[in-house]
């Protein structure tokens, strides 16, 4: 039997009273893709940071090909052939790809940097592993997928034989992610061993050879990928049976929000191009598409942050295309933004302040310009209880909430007002299974209560489980809607590729 290239022996790491890793033991075989699966906060990233030397473990050791790594020394890890691709890239945007790769791999004071040689090696790596990149492009001009490629090349340039990727698909659209996993598979054939961290079941199932499941800082299971199922993994990861809810058939009412020929131009670019859609009472309309095809503009126009240049947008038969965010909220339109940290909440404010931020002028929460703090706090406490926002009191700084709980707060402050319409823009992006199920259940409950919901999602599974009808968005244009029942993966794939009329063939 071959020896593992990497072994972690009983790694324990504590942060104050919190045990982030509890005697974690795992190994990586040569040429293997190992998935490290766990919910947010399960200790995956901590473990990999220990392996790479960013953190020092309280107990335990790391062995690379049988030799212990000195703790707390990233340089030693690099020298031993460990390369890490962080979730948030560590590239300098103002430098070229070549310069970014060279930084740190050659001494600062050397005058003659071996650029020609480096260029040749990069070309060689790109060729061998199928990672096309232009070494002279400025990193700031690259897409996230390309930046990730640069990070991988950077690791390979330093002769990494073990590659660690922390949530590599968090920033990628589906096709980019699939491309990445094909590349990784090719790299293992070239002799690399890979660990990737994920909380997404489908990518673990499709891309790994073996899965190690972490929960609460402990290894709870290890499975051959071929010998397990997504539902088993989900249960292992969450620790209980989690099933995402599905919508039940029911009849929908009259149209609540209607767009006709809606066109938005932003900064000289056509963001939305004559789109038509309508959402009825008790209906969820799913908008699917590869990211960057106009979802953000659609979200902004429905949030009151962008003005259409032509076309109609009506809510309960009155024109809302010129209204401000505050007007829309007052009319009863709820909005869940795409980026919950940047737009959904003010992290430095308390939970209660964020809970009422949208409705400060509401007589329930202010009188003669003064905030009714007691009422606002009581409202926040109510949201926390009703929407099961964990780790929060009304006084908690919102920034300290986990992504899932912050999303519940944002969803809660919208749903508490029983909106007639709700925009849910990527409502579960970056959330773990338990939180996704909770968000889905809330959306479906709002649908039962008669709200019209526009769901913008890149997650096809989510879109088809929740939506009554689905439209695809491609380059700012919307396809005709199709019934969710008719939306199999192939049909949706064609729609998202811009092949309209494909639905007629089904």
């Amino acid at each position: 039997m071959t020896r593992p290239v990497l072994e972690l022996n009983r790694i324990t790491k504590r942060f104050g009273g919190l045990v982030a890793n509890d005697a974690v033991t795992l190994h990586l075989m040569p040429g293997e893709i190992l998935a490290l699966l766990g919910e947010n906060g399960a200790g995956k990233t901590t473990l990999m940071n220990i392996l790479f030397g960013h953190y020092t473990a309280d107990e335990g050791e790391v062995l690379v090909e049988g030799t212990p790594l000195p703790p707390g020394k990233p340089r030693a890890a690099i020298a031993a052939g460990v390369g890490m691709v962080h979730q948030h890239f560590t590239l300098a945007g103002n430098l070229t790809v070549l310069e970014n790769i060279l930084i740190g791999s050659e001494p600062l004071w050397r005058l003659d940097s071996h650029r020609a040689e480096a260029r040749a090696r990069i070309a060689n790596i790109a060729e061998t592993f199928g990672l096309p990149v232009n070494p002279d492009a400025r990193v700031a001009d690259l897409s996230v997928g390309e930046r990730q490629r640069v990070e991988i090349i950077k690791a390979l340039y330093r002769k990494a034989r073990i590659l660690i990727l922390d949530e590599p698909t968090a920033v990628l659209a589906r096709p980019e992610a699939e491309q990445l996993f094909r590349t990784l598979r090719g790299m293992t054939e070239g002799g690399l061993s890979i660990i990737f961290i994920s909380h997404k079941l489908h990518e673990v199932m499709s891309a790994s050879d073996r899965v190690v499941v972490l929960r609460g800082g402990k290894v709870v299971a290890e499975r051959k990928t071929s010998a397990t199922t997504p539902s088993e993994l989900a249960e292992l990861m969450v620790g209980r049976q989690v099933t995402r809810p599905r919508r039940a058939a029911h009849t929908t009412g009259k149209p609540v929000i209607v767009a006709q020929g809606l066109t938005v131009d932003e900064a000289g670019k056509r963001g939305l191009d004559a789109v038509d859609f309508q959402v009825c009472e008790g209906e969820i309309l799913g908008i699917v598409g590869v990211s960057g095809n106009g979802q953000a503009v659609l979200g902004r126009v429905l949030s009151g942050l962008a003005r259409p240049s032509s076309g109609r947008l009506t809510f309960q038969d009155s024109d809302i295309s010129r209204l401000t965010p505050r007007d829309l909220i007052r009319l009863g339109l709820g909005r869940v933004p795409e980026d919950r940290h940047a737009e959904g909440a003010v992290g430095e404010l308390a939970v209660w302040e964020n809970a009422v931020l949208e409705r400060l002028k509401d007589p329930a929460f202010s009188r003669r310009g003064f905030v009714r703090r007691a009422a606002a706090r009581a409202h926040a406490a109510e949201l926390i209880a009703r929407f099961d926002i964990r780790g929060a009191t009304p006084e908690t700084r919102t920034r300290l909430l986990s992504g899932g709980n912050m999303q519940k707060l944002i969803l809660g402050r919208n749903l508490a007002a029983a909106p007639r319409f709700l925009l849910a823009n990527q409502p579960t992006r970056g959330l773990d299974e338990g939180a996704i199920a909770a968000v889905h259940a809330e959306l479906l409950a709002a649908r039962e209560a008669g709200a019209a919901i526009l769901l913008i999602s890149e997650d096809l599974e989510e879109a088809s489980a929740l939506s009554d009808r689905i439209q695809a968005i491609v380059k700012g244009r919307l396809s005709q809607p199709i019934a969710s029942e008719a939306a199999d993966a192939r049909t949706l794939g064609l729609m998202m590729a811009g092949v309209w009329g494909a639905q007629d063939a089904v």
Partner: protein
């Protein structure tokens, strides 16, 4: 070494930070004082004595603190909303000029309290407009207000020079470039007999209380804080960013203008181009030392006034140039900025 964000900024840290910053500044300036050939301990003792050694000294320090409270408050209010108002000095002078110009004879016949209120409001309006211009330029065209407000200071001071040499020149001043005096019955009454300390201090403290309540209790205050901390999220939640910024500009400029008004209505009585020892700029230091908190502004203003007044006395007693006051203030600003970093972040190996 790297910085790790603290989960929460503790109140203790916020209270300790300015004290630590001031101590560091005192230690660093001790070197300079020693270089001037005087024992730092003697010099600092003289400074304290000069600022608090007698009844007169105390009133003088508080007199100096009054406009600083207002200019500090002006900076704090603006910085909270990320409006970088460096123009406190200009707004101060506009307020002073309006008070002297209107208060000389135009308001004769009005009951005194009403006339004083009119002067204060007019000065506030002048300061407000002086800052709303740059704020509007930033909103419409993205012009950096640091540049516009800073440069406006020089324009305003030159304008004041023009006025005190020209239309508002006092004919009774033996040719000195000073403005006509404000009518003597409009001058603010003294707080302490036979001193320069006047009711302006109470005006400043009242302003602190009002700003505190506005920031912490009102819808406008909540919206301003949200807009300052995360403008995108605030806009998404329906906070009108433009209007909020303009109102903040009005409030901030108004407070600095009010500082000019009470200085003329209080100790000076008229305007000269050298009446402010940098009240507007020192207000920035005051705001930072106060960590932008209204209550902290009072303490920080008293500290800065202590340094100003004490340094004069120290200079007379020991021969160390009184410029040490400016150095001490600048170093404490730098130390405070560093200290604030440590209240938000902790250092990890």
């Amino acid at each position: 070494m790297r910085f790790e964000r603290r989960a929460d900024v503790s109140l203790t840290a916020l209270l300790v930070a300015p004290v630590a910053a001031i101590l560091v500044a005192l230690v660093l300036c001790a070197g300079l004082i020693a270089a001037a050939g005087v024992s730092p301990l003697t010099a600092y003792a003289e400074m304290l004595h000069g600022a608090y050694g007698s009844r007169l000294a105390v009133t003088e320090t508080l007199t100096r603190a009054s406009p600083l409270i207002l200019t500090g408050l002006a900076a704090a209010v603006a910085f909270r909303a990320r409006l970088w108002n460096i123009g406190g000095e200009g707004q101060f002078y506009i307020g002073a000029l309006i008070t002297a110009g209107l208060g000389h004879s135009l308001l004769a016949g009005l009951p005194v309290p009403i006339a004083v209120a009119v002067l204060m409001l007019a000065s506030m309006a002048g300061g407000a407009m002086l800052l709303m211009g740059p704020a509007l330029l930033r909103l419409r065209f993205g012009v950096d207000e640091v540049v516009t407000t800073l440069l406006l200071n020089f324009i305003v001071i030159l304008f004041v020079g023009l006025m005190v040499e020209g239309p508002l020149k006092d004919p009774m001043a033996f040719g000195w470039p000073q403005s006509v005096p404000v009518a003597s019955d409009l001058r603010l009454p003294d707080l302490v007999a036979r001193s320069r300390l006047h009711v302006g201090l109470l005006v400043a403290l009242l302003a602190v209380a009002v700003v505190w309540v506005v920031q912490m209790r009102t819808v406008f205050g909540a919206e301003t804080r949200a807009a300052g901390l995360n403008p995108r999220a605030a806009a998404f939640a329906g906070v009108p960013l433009g209007r909020t910024l303009m109102l903040v500009a009005a409030l901030s400029g108004g407070l600095a203008g009010l500082a000019g008004a009470i200085e003329v209505l209080g100790p000076t009585g008229y305007v000269t181009t050298t009446m402010s020892p940098g009240f507007g700029y020192a207000g920035i230091v005051v705001a930072m030392l106060a960590a932008l908190h209204p209550a902290g502004v009072v303490a920080a203003a008293v500290f800065v006034a202590t340094v100003f007044v004490g340094a004069d006395a120290m200079s007379r007693a020991t021969g160390v140039p009184s410029f040490i006051a400016d150095v001490l203030m600048s170093v404490s600003l730098l130390a405070m900025l560093t200290a604030l970093l440590f209240t938000t972040y902790r250092v990890r190996r």
